[in-house]
């Protein structure tokens, strides 16, 4: 078992956003996390990634407890996340952002001072080959991100996460807001990341065709808890899931 989340719970004021949620992911597995809006999917990712501190539960990752670690420490453990809504970061180029991704697992403290007289040519070449080329971002590496389309910014966000050489990627709606064509390409990239790097993926997504064609297993969440888990066809056949999620009577 690579990731084992047990009984995760967090509330905001009176709202229990995630309520006793459990989920596990094997190495190299792509797990889909679906559920209606407000089910707590983003909050779940925030808890695993260290952005929120859950009030109860454990987040075991390869034998290490992630709960209570700061986000930058979680990334150092090889767990990287992307954002549901990508921010527009002014004055930074695509390459700048990808370098920051790589730096998330790089040198720290006073050692960072050495960056002042260290060249970056080797790093740039490596990032071009391992991240920018595979994601089709090589040609626009020098462009400021705020000039890019929403779809490209999502690709940059994924590139940034990949540059930290993760073993688990937490993707929050990677396809939402993309055109059909862009969405298919994004899904292909995600499968390729898994195939090439044996990276495990947890993917929150609404677009069912993408989820069906990409995920090995699907977990359905409603009102902060897991209501079903199984393969794509099993999820689609389950009457409870159809009622809660697909809006059938």
């Amino acid at each position: 078992m690579a990731l084992q989340v047990t009984d995760l719970t967090i509330s905001f004021g009176g709202v229990v956003a995630v309520n006793g949620m459990s989920l596990s992911i094997e190495p190299g597995e792509i797990v889909g996390l679906i559920g209606p809006n407000g089910a707590g999917k983003t909050t779940f990712i925030n808890c695993v990634a260290g952005a929120y501190r859950p009030s109860r539960g454990t987040v075991q990752w390869k034998g290490t407890e992630l709960r209570g670690l700061a986000p930058h420490s979680v990334i150092r453990q090889g767990v990287a996340r992307t954002f549901q809504n990508v921010a527009s970061l002014h004055d930074l180029t695509v390459l700048d952002i990808v370098k920051l991704g790589a730096a998330a697992r790089g040198r720290r403290g006073l050692a960072a001072v050495a960056d002042l007289w260290r060249g970056e040519a080797a790093l740039e070449a490596e990032l071009h080959e391992t991240v920018l080329e595979p994601l089709g971002l090589a040609d626009i590496a020098a462009q400021p991100v705020q000039t890019l389309s929403y779809g490209l910014r999502k690709a940059v966000d994924l590139a940034r996460a990949m540059a930290s050489r993760p073993e688990l990627l937490l993707l929050d709606e990677p396809v939402a807001g993309l055109t059909v064509q862009e969405g298919q390409q994004m899904a292909a990239v995600i499968r390729e990341v898994r195939d090439r790097r044996r990276c495990a993926v947890l993917m929150v997504e609404h677009k069912m065709d993408v989820v069906m064609s990409t995920c090995d297993r699907i977990t359905v969440m409603a009102a902060g808890a897991r209501i079903f888990e199984g393969t794509g066809p099993a999820v689609q056949a389950d009457p409870e899931v159809r009622r809660v999620y697909l809006g059938e009577p």
Binding site: A51, L89, D91, L92, D96, P144, G151, L152
Partner: protein
């Protein structure tokens, strides 16, 4: 930076520094006043314009630089006194910045204001180090065995240090710590999600900014030859903020433009007032007109003179050339290949 550009820049700096010796005393005084103010403005720009942390304590940090350099310079430290002034102000800047790790926005701004007042008070009472209200006399800096006393020499030295500061800060912005400044400025939550240690990054911003402001303070001390509490009050902090806003945040050239504006305009007003025999009236209007200017720039050109000049230059080049020169402005860069097209190729 390409070698040729580096060489051209070096030539400009050497020429400007050498040219200082051809200036009269007053001209040289204006040059070093602007250069020294611009160094501090760059330090504040790093903190506020690039890393997004406002501060009203730069007046006091300039003071710490001046007092440190004064004490050590009087003790015969030479150039080392300038570096030590940077270190002392850097440490103070980090201490002032500690509340920024917990407080946001207005609350943090008020904490820096409080720090400004506390330091001003300390300047008055820690007499062994500051000579209290009467102020501390500072002997001329001794360089290569000779005291540097002329305004011309100080203009040349200030230009050289300004150029070094500019290069160093621009280099810092091309490291991961520098890039992280920009992300922290834009959105702290995103920065955290990207794996940036926001606390550490902010501390670096305070440290580097404080160092630069302290160096400027050392130069203030050595050129005015006097450090006294009222010289490093809130109005100096406000002047610095005015330079930042009028010049342009997040652009290094903006700090130089802002410093030129804030230092030279009052001089010009002073001259005008003397010529028209209304000096008192005009100097009373100084503070008010700066306040008004800050508000006007915030309303109409938040990116300051630097952005204004760039637009002007683009307009001129459009008139002068049939096809505008290509630049990397967002307008041009926005013409990116269709998102689908680019990614398709690679898959």
């Amino acid at each position: 930076m390409p070698a040729r550009r580096r060489l051209a820049l070096l030539a400009v700096v050497v020429l400007a520094a050498a040219g200082s010796f051809a200036l009269g005393r007053f001209g040289a005084y204006l040059v070093h006043s602007v250069a020294i103010a611009a160094i501090a403005a760059m330090g504040l720009n790093l903190l506020t314009g690039f890393a997004g942390q406002i501060s009203f304590a730069s007046g006091a940090l300039i003071g710490i630089g001046a007092y440190t350099a004064g004490n050590l310079g009087n003790a015969g430290w030479g150039l080392g006194a300038i570096l030590a002034a940077g270190v002392a102000a850097a440490v103070a800047s980090v201490v002032i910045g500690l509340p920024a790790l917990r407080l946001r926005g207005l609350y943090y701004a008020i904490a820096t204001l409080a720090a400004q007042f506390v330091l001003e008070y300390l300047f008055k009472i820690v007499e062994p180090l500051t000579k209290g209200i009467s102020g501390m006399n500072i002997a001329p800096l001794v360089l290569l065995g000779r005291p540097v006393a002329s305004d011309q020499a100080w203009a040349a030295i200030s230009i050289a240090i300004l150029a070094l500061t500019w290069l160093g800060l621009a280099r810092l912005m091309r490291t991961n710590v520098g890039r992280a400044f920009l992300v922290v400025r834009e959105n702290e939550l995103v920065a955290k999600g990207m794996g940036i240690d926001v606390v550490r990054v902010k501390l670096w911003a305070f440290l580097a900014s404080g160092f630069v402001i302290g160096v400027s303070g050392a130069l203030v001390g050595f050129t005015t030859r006097l450090a006294s509490p009222e010289g490093f009050g809130l109005s100096l902090s406000i002047d610095q903020v005015a330079m930042l806003i009028v010049g342009g945040q997040g652009v290094w050239a903006g700090s130089l433009l802002g410093a030129g504006f804030v230092v030279l305009i009052p001089e010009a007003i002073q001259r005008l007032g003397e010529a028209l025999h209304v000096a008192n009236l005009l100097s009373a209007m100084r503070e008010m007109s700066f306040g008004l200017l800050i508000v006007l720039f915030l309303l109409f050109e938040p990116r300051g003179l630097a952005a204004l000049l760039r637009r002007l230059a683009r307009g001129v080049s459009r008139i002068a050339l049939p096809h505008p020169v290509p630049d990397s402005s967002p307008v041009v860069a926005a013409r990116t290949p269709a998102p689908g097209g680019t990614r398709e190729k690679a898959l």
